[in-house]
Every structure is written in C-alpha cells, then in structure tokens.
C-alpha cells in the first residue's frame, strides 16, 4: 500500500540528524528522497564516517548511525564543486516538489541554488533551509549541534537536580526535534501548495525550535518574571505529586511514578500498603500532597527499594497508577511487550551492514502503508537510475561524467565496500 506522500519527490541536500532526519520522516511516509552527496566536503555527510561501524571497520557505507537516519532514501553522488555538477542539480529541480538543505548559511547561494534561483526554475517549490541559528540575526553564522541548541534554548539548564550543575540532555534531543520540526515545515508548505498552488521558503533554526519547546516555562518567565531552576524529577509546576523516580532492587534500577487524580492516589496508597497516608484527608488533594512531598517520596522509595522495578510497574499499572521503568535501549528492545506488539524495531537486511534494527514510525494510518521499508543507500547507489530515468541521460554520457569524476556510483557490493 502506498504511503500518503507517494508521488512527492525531494531534492535532499541535508546532512546529520537534524537535517537528514527530516527527510527520513518524509521517506517513511512515502516520499521519494534523492540525497545529493559526495565523498568529500562540502557535500560529504560526516555522519557517513561516524560509528558504530559494521564489523568495527570504518567505511562510507558501514556506519550504523548514518544507516539509521537515512533509511528508505536514494543516493545520487554529484561533485557540487564542479560547474557540471551544479548543472545536473539544476536539471533535477523541475522534477522535485521539495528542496531541503542544511549547510551553513551561504553555501547554496554560492552554488546558485538559493531559494530565489530555485523558484525561478520551479515556482511552486517548497524549500527548507535548516541551520543552527537560522539565516538571519546576529548569531546567523554561529555553529550548532544538538547540545549547542539545547544549551542556548534553556532546555539544558532547566533539567537536573536542584543546586547541582545542569544534567541537561544526554543525547541530541534537538537533532531529533529539529528534524521533526523541519519535516513539519515542509509538510506545512506542501499543504499550502495543495490549497493555493504556491511555493514556500522556510528558514529553520534548530536553536530557535529549542526555545519554542520550553513549553509553559516561556510564559512563566515572560509574564511572572520567574527564574526557572531544576527540581530533579518532581513536576516543575506541581501538577503531579508524587512525581519522581524511585530506586528499585538491583543496580541502577528506577521506577517513575506520577499521580494527579485522587483515584490514582488512593490506588497508590493501597498498592504500597500505606494505610496511614491513605487515611489522611489532607493528602487527597494535590496541594495537600505537595506540602508533604518529601514524606510521600520517602514512603514510596521504601516500598520500591526491595522490589523488582518491572514487577512493581505492572502491579501499579494494574491498580490504575501511572508508572514506568526507566528503560535502557536493551530494555526497550528485549523487555517491552508493547513496543514488540507495535513493531517499533523493524529489521532490514543490507549486504554490507547485515541485518539490523531500525526505529519505525509511531503511527499506523488506515488506508496507507507507512514505515521503514528499505535500508539506507550506498553512496551513489542511485546516481545512474535517477539521471537516466528523470533526465534521460544516455549510458555514454553517464560514463563520461563518471570518468570526469563529476558523478559517482556504487553498483556492486565490491564497490560499496571499497569506499
């Protein structure tokens, strides 16, 4: 069954997770993604060189993280530093609905592929420029990766234990959410084009998206003059109590419990045999519990400490209390029956990488086929097919371009292993 974006074609100059993650999302929804890349900067995606590597041996087509971010795409290897290479890219534009790029501001303009130039060729193009701080403003030239954006936006400072340095985020959350927001921008553009037939340009800054994701903290600082400081795992605004991670039996094993409703509180007290807490009328309300949060936390922790986290979670959920084990990736892959039921981890086979797991989409959509279906492309795997099928290049021209090192391809396993 085709995906909802079947028939949408993307000319993809994005790299890394914040950029290339957005076109991954479009690919899982059925769009055709043409990655324009090259084995050397500036069109090289450094993610191709990152670990972990299949068999522990580096190589352009051996990177596990690159593979994760680029499932379901096509790779067209063009040397964009040559005039002939730029001309091929320009020839592809009329065939594409979307152009997405995540270079430093200025690179696409140098190549003659900025929005104004591209829309002169394809007026209804949806064009996304994704960068760290956006194309304009005093920090437009600043460099950013996920942790930079998290630090700048306040996401890092707001997460941690009280009176300690920030714990921040232990991974590039804003690379994921940058990718998600970039995909959302492209889809807004496509939806507007569907209604009005017009193109659109989006100037996306990963750091600015981070700021917008502070949630209600934004109004707390702007309207209350609040200074937001971390409160560990307790709810920043007291909307849940108890709300914490409690130590369980075994090494570094933790259970998260959140309570808001009186029914949940009663069920929690009953499950952990806290008759004394259940009997206190002042603790039935959220405000009453917040006034005794230390005491309540100590009581729950005393119950969880001798218990297996997973068993405690099941007992609490069965009683109607929101509870969840703090899972590692190993837990998610091997011990989470719901993720297994919904098939979040899809296995795909690739001759170089072997059979590996890929994170699939969090949705099913009736009437559509969505999700991860084919592995990431070897560098240049689709160059010949795309230039032949879309642009009608004859075989001899492809040979000439390859001999002149303007395009490259990888057809055989041997060639894919060689780079």
């Amino acid at each position: 069954m085709p995906g909802p974006l079947d028939g949408i074609r993307v000319l993809d100059f994005t790299r890394h997770l914040a950029g290339a993650g957005s076109t991954r999302i479009l690919a899982t929804l059925g769009a055709e993604i043409l990655r324009i890349e090259w084995p050397h900067p500036p069109a090289l995606d450094f993610l191709r060189l990152s670990g972990p590597h299949a068999g522990g041996r580096p190589g352009m087509n051996r990177g596990g993280f690159f593979a994760q971010v680029n499932v379901g795409k096509k790779s067209v290897a063009i040397d964009m530093s040559t005039d002939a290479g730029k001309e091929i890219a320009r020839e592809l534009i009329p065939h594409c609905d979307v152009l997405a790029e995540s270079f430093s501001p200025g690179v696409m303009k140098r190549w003659g592929l900025d929005y104004e130039s591209v829309r002169a060729i394809r007026p209804d193009i949806i064009y996304l420029s994704a960068s760290g701080f956006g194309q304009t403003g005093p920090y437009a030239g600043y460099r950013s990766v996920g942790p930079t954006a998290q630090a700048y936006s306040g996401l890092t400072a707001s997460s941690g234990l009280p009176d300690r340095e920030p714990a921040g985020w232990g991974f590039s959350y804003m690379d994921h959410m940058g990718a998600v927001m970039n995909a959302a921008a492209i889809l807004m553009g496509l939806e507007r084009r569907r209604a009005r037939g017009e193109g659109e340009f989006f100037d996306a800054g990963q750091s600015q998206h981070g700021c917008a994701l502070l949630g209600p903290m934004l109004l707390d600082v702007s309207l209350n003059g609040a200074q937001v400081r971390p409160k560990g795992n307790r709810d920043l605004y007291g909307n849940f109590c108890p709300n914490n991670a409690y130590r369980c039996r075994g090494e570094d094993s933790w259970l998260a419990i959140s309570v808001r409703e009186p029914s949940e509180w009663a069920a929690l007290c009953k499950t952990i045999d806290a008759d004394d807490l259940a009997a206190r009328p002042d603790l039935v309300t959220l405000a009453g519990r917040l006034a005794h949060e230390d005491e309540i936390d100590a009581c729950i922790a005393a119950w969880t400490r001798s218990r297996d986290a997973r068993e405690a979670m099941v007992v609490l959920q069965d009683a109607g209390v929101p509870a969840g084990v703090a899972q590692t990736v190993e837990d998610k892959v091997h011990r989470d029956p719901q993720l297994a039921f919904r098939g979040l981890y899809t296995k795909l086979d690739d001759p170089v990488l072997g059979q590996k797991r890929y994170e699939d989409v969090p949705v099913t959509m009736s009437g559509f086929g969505v999700g991860v279906s084919s592995p990431s492309p070897w560098l240049g795997a689709d160059t010949r097919d795309v230039l032949r099928d879309l642009l009608g290049y004859p075989e001899e021209r492809l040979e000439q371009l390859k001999a002149a090192a303007i395009i490259d391809d990888a057809i055989t396993l041997e060639e894919a292993e060689a780079v």
């Binding site: 630090a151 306040g154 600082v221 560990g232």
Partner: protein, 392 residues
C-alpha cells in the same frame, strides 16, 4: 500576510495529549475548535499560574498551548452534544482525539459514526500506548513516558553515586508525540482521503534516543548517562564548565576542525592559559583523544576566568560549537531572538492588556506561522460553534 494553514479546520477534543498538535495547527492559522467538557479542559487546572491567580482562566499552561483556538463546551454524554460534535466534524479536515482507547466508542461515537459524518476526515488518535496491545490500557505522564521511552536513562550524573536518571523538562513527551501527530495529519491530507491515525506516545518517545539503538545493535553495548553531556559506552571528558559569573558553558569538543583548534589555542595563549596545548602534537587525532581529559581541564580553567557570554561569543567567533547554558529567563532579552521576532504581544483586553508571548520558531517567507490571539475563555465561541441563534 496570509497564514500558512488558514484554509484548514481542525476539531480538537481538549486534553493534555492533543494540545501541542492543536497549537501547531492554530499558530499556522488553521481554525481550531477546542471542544471542552462542561467544567472546562483538564489543563485549565495546570500550573504555572498567571501572577499566582489559581482559577480556570489563569493557567499559563493553558494559555501557552491554546493560542488562537476557539472554545466550545459540548457535553458528549448527551445526544444534543454528540449531534453538535458530529456537525462540527462534517465541516472539519482533522480531528485531534486524545481520548483513551475505546473512549469515544463508549460515548456512542464509534469510529464508524465519525467516518459517516465525514469520510474525508483525518482522525488522529493520540493515546499513551496505542489503540491495542498488552499495555494499551496503561496510563502515562510526561515522566512515565520519558522513563519508558529511554530519555531518562540517558540524562543525569556520573560523578554523583546513586543519583537518579533525570527527566528532561518542558513537557517533552507531549511535544514528541504532538509534533508527530501534526506530521502524520498533514501527510494524510496530501493524499486527499480520510484516515484513522493511531499514534502511540510511547512509540514516539522510544524512537528518539539518537545513537543508543545503533550502538546496542552493532556492539551489544548500552550507553550510560554522563554529567551534562552525551550518554556513552566508555567514559568521556567533561564538556560542561562553570564560568566566572556562575553560569555554565557547553564546550563540546567533537569534530573540532584544525582551524577551530588553532583559534582556541591562540585564544588561551593570549591570556597565558594555553599550558602545553600549543604543542603541535595535539593535531594528531589519537593524541587529541588520549589527552581529552587534560584538554578539558585546561579549557575549564580558562572558562572559569571569563563570563559565560564572553566564552560563548568568543568561541563561536573562532568556529567552535560552544554555547552558554542559558536559563529560560535569559531568552527574554536575547538579541538574536529579538532580531528574529521570536517574542510577540497578544491582546488580553482589560485588565491585563498586551502580554508578551513566545511566537513560533517557524519562519516562512510567503506566509506566516505565529500566534495572533490569546487562548479562549471557557465556551467563548460556544454559541457560534453550536449554531445557537444562527437559525440552525
């Protein structure tokens, strides 16, 4: 200027799970009708509160997530309420439904009845764990979802024994799931036919932990949390340092180019604080890696002599990807956000007047994606939405 999605109509059943997706639509100009139960949406009772006023019209949580929306109270437990709801759906493009699995069916609003009202409707159902499966009836929260999703076990402290994994703040489980709901709904609209979208918040969170899955799948190893930096299999040097003004700096030293390294070392050297980093041996990647803790120490000592802003801008001028770790309130007078018109004012009428809000992070050239109107008071648009007085 026109608004990007001004042609769309969205019906949102008020609830914590749908509100971010609803805001993504409403700030882009879609007409979003928030259907609230008698007594109002649950999140009208969420803090923080506007200047300490704890009432149903003063929740800043509600204000933040419901800009531009219309509010109509419909009691879906009554036939009258259900009829009005189905009439609304007949004219809508998207339904955002955060009810628990089977929740609407229990009210006599089975999926078939909704499809009958509008076969082209995109019905997005956001549930904690999906419509079916062994955990489908379980309950979630932001904390519970970031625990089960794997975010928490990657955040925390490795220099503090027995310290807990840490939840990222700001309602991020809701953002991860709500953003995906927005994407899936817009994708379905491209095909021009209706769809029932079953979104699991748990799936959305579990699928966003960067390199943890490839590390495990390729090496069998599990990453563990490190203070203020990436969770990793093996220990890594600190990259969070305290500046002279007490604020912290994120001084990540991954993929440092030779030019950036030269800039950093000469900067330290200007202040007589480069120690032995001027030695060209550090251009050798293996030595750079072996000496990472020492390099981190030298940078930490330098950071301690400057303000966070001096380090942030000085480092960026030298092509280093450092940032000051800003507190949320620091954004209020950040010059870059000001230049990009991040902050806006919305009219609350009397007595509050114009109040300062965050705009959106979407900057478009030919249309606009930004809030224009404060969140609705309870049932503010009820009469027109229900067709009262309109002869219907």
């Amino acid at each position: 200027m026109s608004r990007t999605l001004e042609h769309l109509t969205v019906v949102e059943l008020a609830g914590p799970r749908t509100e971010w997706c609803g805001k993504l639509f409403s700030q882009a100009g879609a007409r979003v009708v928030l259907v609230e139960p008698p007594g109002g949406a649950e999140t009208r009772r969420y803090g923080p509160w506007f200047q300490g006023q704890r009432d149903g019209e003063s929740s800043l949580h509600f204000w933040h997530y419901n800009t531009d929306k219309e509010s109509a109270v419909l009691d879906l437990t009554t036939g009258h309420g259900r009829e009005a709801f189905l009439r609304l759906l007949a004219e809508a493009d998207v339904l955002l439904d955060g009810s628990e699995p089977g929740g609407l069916e229990g009210l006599g609003l089975a999926r078939e009845a909704i499809e009958e009202a509008n076969e082209r409707l995109v019905h997005v159902a956001l549930t904690p764990f999906g419509q079916e499966g062994p955990m489908a009836s379980w309950l979630g929260s932001d904390l519970v979802h970031q625990a089960l999703g794997g975010q928490m076990m990657m955040n925390g402290y490795d220099d503090m024994p027995a310290s807990p994994p840490i939840n990222g703040q700001g309602n991020q489980a809701g953002h991860m799931a709500g953003s995906w709901a927005f994407i899936a709904a817009l994708a379905a609209l491209q095909a021009g036919k209706g769809s029932f979208i079953d979104l699991s918040v748990h799936d959305a969170c579990a699928g966003m932990t960067e390199n943890a899955l490839p590390q495990f799948d390729y090496t069998g190893k599990v990453v563990t949390r490190r203070t203020g930096r990436h969770a990793s299999v093996a220990p890594t040097p600190a990259w969070q340092h305290r500046a002279a003004d007490g604020r912290y700096i994120n001084a990540q030293l991954v993929n440092v180019s030779p030019r950036a390294w030269e800039g950093l070392v000469s900067w330290l050297d200007e202040h007589g604080m480069a120690e032995d980093l001027t030695d060209p041996k550090y251009f050798v990647p293996e030595i750079f890696r072996e000496e990472a803790d020492h390099i981190s120490d030298v940078i930490g000592k330098f950071v301690a002599t400057k303000t966070a802003d001096e380090i942030f801008h000085g480092a960026q001028a030298r092509a280093l990807i450092f940032s000051a770790i800003l507190n949320p309130e620091d954004l209020l007078d950040d010059p870059h956000l000001a230049a990009r018109d991040f902050w806006i004012e919305l009219d609350h009428g009397e007595p509050e007047g114009m109040l300062r809000y965050a705009g959106s992070a979407f900057v478009a050239q030919n249309s606009e994606v930004r809030p224009r109107r404060r969140a609705p008071r309870l049932d503010e648009h009820g009469a027109s939405v229900r067709g009262e007085g309109a002869g219907r």
